[in-house]
Amino acid sequence: MSATKIPAFDPSSVAPVASWREHDHDSHGHVVQFYSEDHSLLETLGRFIGSALEAGDAAIVIATEAHRDGLAQQLKSRGLDVASTIQQGRYVPLDAVETMAEIMVAGWPDETRFANHIGRVITRARRAAEKAIQTDTSLLVESRVVAFGEMVALLWAEGKHPSAIRLEQLWNDLAKTHCFSLRCAYPMGGFHKQEHSEPFLKICAEHSAVIPGESYTSLKSEADRLRNISQLQQKAQALEAEIAQRKEAQESLRQRETALRDAEQHAAMGKLAAIIAHEINNPLEVIANVFFLLRDHPSLDDDARGLARIAEEEISRVRHIANQTLAFYRESEKPISVSLNQVLDGVLEIYARSMKSHGIAVEKNYSGNREILAHPVEVRQVFVNLIGNALQAMPDGGILRVGIHDSSESIRDSRRTGIRVNITDTGVGIPARYRDKLFQPFVTTKAEKGTGLGLWVSRELVQKMGGTIRFRSGSVRGKTRTSFSVFIPTGLVARERVS
């Protein structure tokens, strides 16, 4: 049995074979090089500029002093007489900061200044090169110009990203009227942020070729490069996941901070509400008690007692408004288990005297003892309002029915279990014109006697408990019935099957 020979893997079959040195001899184009270490930049720059000067061409270098000095060392080590090329005018080293000052207006690369200044430098360098060749050979040759510029890198380092990209574009515009081969270089360390991704792509797009950092270009074989690409892809994958995670964490932190701020604000309002309630209700109790005593006081005549009664009614209005508006802001007490039977009995008890004097009978229908998790004061306030309204609707007597039973309610496709409380009266009913806006603030069916806050506040409080409130009012065979129905959820059960 003969073993089948497996052919050796040829990396060039899956990736283009890259040769970074071929860019060193580019006679045209606009190439960008990314680098990590200065010596790596200076090495490639030495080859790029050196080979041009050796060929008798012109070279313009617009760089920092350190890079100009470093490059001069590289050129000398190639055996070039740097001083004489400078003297000939075909090697033009320029300071990047000084050149930038020539072409910038108000921090932005100026199109005209750039074209004039750099255009002049290129033309002069070309002529100098051509002249040098003529003196040697008496031949008329058109000389090449190569240029290296790192003004863009300086702008980038200063955070002036749009200016850097603009300057790259100006170089490209200049190439339409002048013939030169351009090399730009950026330190890779300047692109360390996620928000650099987009301008980084823009920079790459402004160039005809891109030379990656030396961690890649220094790799000897295609196999090594493919391994490196795979590693970089994995790193990019991991970083993207990391960034997504971080963004998510930041978003959740932001949400928590907002919630905390809201809670703090609410707590502050709660404290304020408690202070206001204290300052209003304490004197109000004294005033209410005083007028209650004056109402039937034997030492007063009928007129004076009448005035006391008016004052009492107005006080009741003030009390009502204060308590309804302060109802929304409570100090952050946790909800506790509240017995609806007890709350309703308590409310019926406070109205007992008034119901007796108006000839109102109560029919209670409680099925079991029902408890909810809530703020007792809020639950009480809802039913003080609803039962109070029902009683006011029956000035000439009637029947008040109070029912509590288990119930469930459909919300979209979920069914919620909870408790329903029905308050029904046999009073005057709610006129049809009020029915659509009954729960709006300052809407009242009771003329000047009502504040229009009770039902609005009740609905807000019920909604805060996650519940709903609705009403029905109408006449059957001459008998008017008005019923308010409050649903308070106690839990969520399985979603209904949607058929």
């Binding site: 204290h278 209700n281 005593l293 406070i350």
Partner: protein, 126 residues
Amino acid sequence: MSKRSSIRTATILCIDDEPTALSVRRMLLESAGYQVATAHSAEEGIQIFKSRPIDAVIMDYWLSGMDGIEAARALKRIRPAIPIVVLSALTELPGESIGAADRWLLKGEDPAYLLNAIDTLLESRA
């Protein structure tokens, strides 16, 4: 003596550190026929409660020194069946304190509510 008239001769202990509120509340209860004893602090109230027959207690929630709920608990320890009404000017009482009293009412509510509450509590215990 009928049940109703025995209720109306009952003695109510009122505890409040606010003298004006206390004296007007006393007049309110007296106008309804009750006997009234007053105390300006929880500590004084407990002393009175121990020294003479009291049928029901009305106290402020926010007292300087021992607060109303603490005082209500102390009174219930002495006589668990004593009806206690706590008055609060706050829009909310701390949840855990609600069980300490038989009734809690907001100050500034209709005075009839307080009289109703006392009537009902005394009737149920008569």
